[in-house]
């Protein structure tokens, strides 16, 4: 096992033991972190690895939340099945948006804005849809005395904490497996240069659809948990633009295109957000939280535009150095190799993009003209 796996194992073990000595308040707060990390992992699969920027992940989250909650409340479907249906629903909507966008070559900023449009469209539809409660919201019944958490998937702070820890661990493991497979390699090729990747035989359309479907599905599961834990759903709070933005901030702050970045980012961003909110409430000044959060966000992105994980990984020596062939010395930080380029390549990626920006833009313009 590599150092990375050991680090992950120690981390999960520590989190698993934490409830022994932690308050319910802390556990609830960490549960929020896990949800953000889960969505961050999902979003990062699509953006950090397949290079497709989504600014509308709240849509999948909200659809997942409503699906699980409504199935449980109205039809008595256990959330065990509800989660599966939520995954399918999130994946299906993501596939629809992806298929529309990719088939008609909606790329880059345009694709990002298309995702916003669908998310806002979805929010407005939910607000005017009486079946789901409209703007008035949808509520889950209070837990009965005979409630069995493992059946209803609803329980106290400790149950929620473990449920999310397990889900998060599973999602993380899934993302590692996919990213390190041939699919992950090909995703990164698409991210770096889609046309060049296609010329090398990468079926970009199918692989991009796979990325958005997986991402949408996982996000829907996060939404499902969030609904079960919160007990009440409002279109504005589970489908709103603000939520989409919060979702992307954590993985960017943690470092996109890395396996640990979204988790680290969630551990930074969610407490910051909560802390500034509490501070504003304590001070009784509306909007102070936004001010603090915004300033911190700008500070983080100015200081560490590549995100926190690459920075930390280098210092902890967690950047894996794969044994090279005899006579070769891989240079630390740059020459990360192949069996795990996922942590290391962010340095290269960002520096590469920064250096290559102007020429590639000029090049992009020429080729755009040529294809008109």
């Amino acid at each position: 096992m590599s150092r990375q796996w050991w680090a992950a194992l120690v981390f999960v073990a520590a989190l698993a033991l934490l409830p022994l000595g932690a308050s319910d308040y802390l556990l609830s707060a960490l549960t929020l972190v896990f949800i953000a990390a889960l969505v961050g992992i999902a979003w990062n699969l699509m953006m950090g690895f397949a290079g497709q920027l989504s600014l509308g992940h709240a849509l999948y989250f909200g659809v997942g939340a409503y699906t699980v909650a409504i199935l449980a409340e109205r039809y008595g479907v256990t959330p065990w099945i509800g989660m599966g249906i939520a995954f399918a629903a999130g994946a299906a909507i993501a596939l629809l948006i992806g298929a529309l966008g990719f088939r008609f070559a909606v790329r880059g900023v345009y694709f990002a804005l298309l995702t916003i449009a669908f998310a806002e469209f979805g929010r407005i539809v939910f607000e005017h849809w009486s079946f789901v409660g409209g703007t008035g919201g949808f509520y889950l019944k209070a837990l009965s005395a005979t409630n069995v958490p493992l059946i209803s998937l609803r329980g106290g702070a400790r149950f929620n904490y473990y449920a999310l820890l397990v889900t998060l661990t599973f999602a993380w493991w899934l993302s590692v497996a996919v990213v390190r497979s041939a699919i992950g390699y090909r995703w990164r090729a698409i991210r770096d240069d889609e046309d060049a990747a296609r010329a090398l035989g990468v079926p970009a359309f199918r692989l991009k659809l796979l990325a958005v479907a997986l991402s949408g599905g996982l996000t829907a599961i996060a939404g499902g948990w969030s609904g079960l834990i919160g007990g009440s759903l409002f279109p504005d709070s589970v489908l709103g633009m603000r939520l989409s933005i919060d979702f992307i901030v954590a993985p960017i702050v943690g470092g996109i295109g890395t396996l640990f970045g979204p988790i680290l980012g969630a551990f930074i961003v969610v407490p910051l957000n909560e802390w500034s909110r509490e501070l504003a409430q304590a001070a009784g000044i509306n909007g102070l939280n936004l001010l603090i959060y915004g300033v911190l966000l700008m500070a983080v992105i100015i200081v560490a535009p590549q995100g926190g994980w690459p920075w930390i990984a280098r210092r902890l020596g967690l950047v894996e150095r794969v044994p090279c062939r005899p006579g070769e010395q891989a240079r630390n930080g740059v020459a990360i190799a192949a069996s795990d380029s996922t942590t290391g390549d962010t340095h290269g990626q960002t520096s590469g993009r920064t250096q290559g920006q102007t020429p590639s833009r000029a090049q992009g313009q020429t080729s755009d003209r040529a294809t008109q």
């Binding site: 008609f104 070559a105 900023v109 607000e127 936004l290 100015i302």
Partner: protein, 292 residues
């Protein structure tokens, strides 16, 4: 019934002109730097508070705020871009997004801290003025706002077309490398583009102040509105912003009549999705792709 639709059409056209001014600013910024200004709606709201503030202090109509809004937001946009934003022009898009989203949150936060979360409306006798033309009632405030927006857009176009600096902006938008090669100071040009874009948003805000109740959290709606317009019209296309603004204005006005006012953006999002799928570059885009 018929009159209802004609009224909606006229209202849509008028408000569309103001929307076009907002979108023109966003397009200018995107055209020159390839940066999406996520704080655009927030800048509009700054203009709205300026309009509201001036009315509270002096009783002048908000339209008189335009010079202050232009200068104030130009200075703010220029300064921000020059000292902070320029380092991000060459960075990946998601990193830029976070910076401007941060700026947006800060502006909204400042608004909420200073003015509080409650809506503030301008009540004056002038808001009931109407012109009667051929049996139609045209809201005077809207008409004035639309005319002012058109004048500002025309001035901006003329400046871009005929002044040397405007031409430099064009050159930078068309070919950044080439612009650098002929000695255009891109740092200044970028800041200028952001300043002009912000000024457009601010002026539009001043015009909207008597039409909407000003509120800090209105901003994200305006940002999204501006996104819709520029995509419908075509990112980086100035005539596209005008066309998009008017189309979206009319679509919203009709939606408010046909469905209900709270669902008015449903029409514009629908319009956006259709346009994006059928013509990814927007109706008048196609000059160049946004690239990745």
């Amino acid at each position: 019934m018929n009159e209802l639709y004609v009224g909606a059409l006229i209202n849509g056209l008028l408000i569309g002109a103001v929307y076009a001014l907002i979108a023109t600013g966003l397009n200018l910024i995107f055209g020159v730097m390839r940066v999406v200004n996520f704080a655009h709606g927030e800048m509009v709201v700054i203009g709205m508070y300026m309009g509201y503030g001036l009315w509270r202090l002096t009783g002048w109509p908000p339209i008189a705020t335009i010079p202050f809004a232009l200068i104030g937001l130009f200075a703010m946009g220029y300064g921000f871009q020059r000292w902070i934003g320029n380092a991000f022009v060459a960075r990946p898009q998601h990193v830029q997004f976070v910076l401007y989203i941060g700026l947006a949150l800060v502006i909204t936060g400042v608004h909420a801290v200073i003015f509080g979360p409650d809506p503030m409306g301008i009540q004056s006798a002038a808001s009931f003025d109407v012109y009667r033309v051929a049996g139609l009632r045209i809201d005077a405030t809207r008409l004035h706002a639309a005319l002012a927006a058109c004048v500002l857009i025309a001035l901006l176009w003329a400046w871009l077309r005929f002044s040397l600096t405007g031409k430099a902006l064009h050159a930078a938008a068309d070919n950044l490398l080439g612009a650098r090669a002929i000695g255009i100071r891109t740092n200044h040009i970028f800041a200028l583009a952001m300043g002009m874009g912000a000024a457009c948003a601010g002026a539009a805000g001043a015009l909207l102040a008597p039409l909407y109740d000003t509120q800090p959290y209105l901003a994200s709606e305006f940002t999204l509105l501006a996104f819709i317009i520029v995509i419908v019209g075509g990112l980086a296309s100035l005539p596209g912003a005008l066309l998009g603004g008017v189309l979206v204005g009319v679509a919203e006005a009709f939606a408010a009549v046909v469905i209900e006012p709270s669902a008015k953006s449903l029409f514009s999002y629908g319009l956006l999705i259709i346009v994006l799928v059928l013509m990814p570059q927007g109706l008048l885009g196609g000059r160049q792709g946004a690239g990745r």
